[in-house]
């Protein structure tokens, strides 16, 4: 197998996706502006509530909430681009031509996920700069915290593959998972500490990897190191997610191939 072809395929998807994004000028502007508006709102909210939450969030509430939304957005974009990849091509009618390449379907799915990663990266830089230079909220970002963020993104991609597979068979599954994924904002400590949740809800937070991604990022920014436990959890979640993701994708594709649901031209 000639591995050299994969970077070329990935590059083709990246170029295509950025050309497509650029072709919708208003959407492109919104893609750039939305994270700035988001980080501004939460930075102001954090500063407003700064004094009231000092016991709960020693580093300052503004830093706490801005770290939360930056990490959250980074993970969310990666998850959605991976999960939407196949369904989107089916929806616009280009799936057959993507499928006809002599490689596993995982290649275009991963390429689309990586394309989403570049958007995550751009939004991350924007939000970081606005927080740091407009609102004076120092995030103490180091290369380790950035690497941990990438690890967190990777740990969630496998779960994106699960949805990508299910979406081939069940066209509306995306809506269900959108609701579930957004509920993670409540459970995982994006806007407030998990310790503030009702006790029953805290049990739920403990089994969601995003909780540990956020905790690791905050520790990294506050103390300059990443707890080994959080790295381990991210790696384990990533491996489990990837195994489940690949298995689900495979099973769903096989079922779709049997039932004729893969390509309905």
């Amino acid at each position: 197998m000639d591995l050299k072809i994969y970077p070329k395929i990935i590059k083709a998807f990246l170029v295509r996706d950025w050309q497509r994004r650029w072709s919708y000028k208003l959407n492109f502007a919104a893609m750039l502006l939305y994270p700035i508006v988001w980080v501004s709102v939460f930075a102001l909210m954090g500063r407003f509530a700064e004094g009231n939450a000092e016991d709960l969030v020693p580093g300052g509430f503004a830093t706490y909430i801005v770290t939360g939304i930056i990490t959250w957005r980074f993970i969310r974009v990666g998850f959605f681009d991976a999960s939407w990849s196949i369904r989107w091509e089916q929806h616009i009618g280009t799936f057959k031509n993507i499928y006809m390449i002599p490689h596993h379907l995982l290649v275009p799915v991963t390429s689309t996920a990586l394309s989403g990663f570049t958007v995550s990266l751009l939004n991350f830089v924007e939000m970081w700069l606005v927080a740091e230079f407009v609102f004076g909220i120092s995030l103490n970002m180091t290369i380790y915290s950035f690497l941990f963020l990438v690890l967190a993104w990777m740990s969630i991609i496998g779960f994106g593959f699960i949805i990508a597979g299910l979406a081939v068979l069940y066209k509306e599954i995306q809506a269900v998972f959108t609701v579930i994924f957004f509920s993670f904002q409540f459970f995982c400590g994006v806007f407030f500490p998990v310790s503030e949740l009702p006790e029953a809800a805290q049990y739920v937070s403990r089994v969601i990897p995003v909780t540990y991604a956020l905790r690791g990022m905050r520790t990294s920014m506050e103390h300059g190191y990443i707890p080994r436990d959080d790295i381990l959890i991210m790696v384990i979640a990533g491996v489990i997610g990837m195994i489940l993701g690949l298995a689900t994708l495979h099973l769903c594709l096989m079922k779709a191939l049997k039932e004729g649901k893969l390509e309905r031209y």
């Binding site: 395929i9 170029v15 596993h104 191939l257 390509e263």
Partner: protein, 315 residues
């Protein structure tokens, strides 16, 4: 043998889409699958293109089983349908560049221009976004996408569906020309008899998941509907003459135009009837016609419609 299909079966819920079909396609041959909607043509193509799994039977492309080696098979085949799409917001260059990259094609731009010239797409067309393309232009670009890829095997699944008659005819003639030049092995599916007859060297007629007949278009027509038709018109003001010939099965008239159906395609019979018609005098525009594949097909599938014509008075 490039394509070998043996006893292929496929069932969707309660519908048996394929009931054990078998056929073979030679290298460089243009093979037609002809049949009404729901006959199983698209199901067959999808199985061969690794987009669908059969319940039983075997399909091989260049000796490779499509189930066992799907990725290798996809490297050899391509499918063109009328519903194929591109990225609407990207121009033709951007679209073809993307697909060429993922199909691992070098020199895509040179090839694109070359095929564009032949298919009637100019450079300025390639700069247009796909959203501004007509259906005919999109289908031409679709063909260019495949030709650049240069797969030795091509499945054309009702590729002219939705095209107007003029575009459809142009597209067909381009297809035939290019397929023959490129020496591609082609399976062409359609419910349109004219295009199958025009393009294909050999045809299998499918109906309700089965291949009911196969052969060259002419053979099939002779087998199903071995008739010949003589058509002519009476000269203005000439009283319709009477003639009789034992080989004439039916005579249909519409105004001054007459169609004589002869019960057998035998040359001597045809000659004899022509002589009788000529002897009766006062005629013009005489021609001998074979039945079209459509007439043969309609007769074969049993959906023959009554032609409302005035029968000539023999007595």
């Amino acid at each position: 043998m490039t394509i070998e299909v043996t006893n292929l079966r496929k069932k969707f819920d309660d519908t048996q889409a394929l009931k054990g079909i078998s056929f073979q396609v030679d290298d460089g041959e243009i093979f037609g699958l002809l049949g009404p909607n729901g006959a199983g043509k698209t199901t067959t193509v999808k199985i061969l293109a690794t987009m669908l799994l059969s319940d039983s039977g075997e399909a091989k492309i260049k000796g490779m089983n499509v189930v066992e080696k799907p990725k290798k098979v996809r490297g050899l085949v391509d499918v063109i349908t009328a519903r194929d799409k591109f990225y609407r917001r990207l121009d033709a260059y951007q679209n073809i560049k993307f697909f060429s990259s993922i199909y691992e094609v070098e020199d895509w731009k040179v090839k694109m221009k070359e095929y564009g010239e032949r298919l009637g797409l100019e450079e300025k067309d390639f700069e247009k976004k796909l959203a501004d393309y007509s259906t005919g232009m999109r289908q031409k670009l679709n063909l260019i996408r495949n030709l650049i890829r240069k797969t030795p095997i091509l499945f054309l699944d009702e590729p002219t569906l939705g095209l107007d008659p003029v575009s459809s005819r142009k597209f067909r003639s381009l297809l035939k020309e290019v397929m023959e030049e490129e020496q591609k092995t082609v399976i062409f599916t359609s419910h349109n008899m004219y295009e199958v007859e025009e393009i294909c060297e050999r045809i299998a007629i499918m109906n309700q998941g089965e291949i009911t007949m196969r052969g060259e278009p002419k053979e099939l027509k002779d087998q199903i509907y071995p008739k010949r038709m003589i058509e002519f018109s009476y000269l203005d003001g000439i009283k319709k003459p009477k003639f009789k010939n034992e080989y004439v099965e039916k005579v249909e008239t519409k105004g001054e135009n007459v169609r004589v159906i002869i019960e057998s395609g035998d040359g001597e019979h045809v000659h004899e009837v022509i002589q009788d018609i000529l002897d009766s005098g006062g005629i013009r525009n005489l021609s001998v016609k074979e039945p079209t594949l459509e007439e043969a097909f309609i007769r074969h599938t049993g959906d023959e419609e009554e032609v409302s014509t005035e029968e000539i008075d023999w007595t």
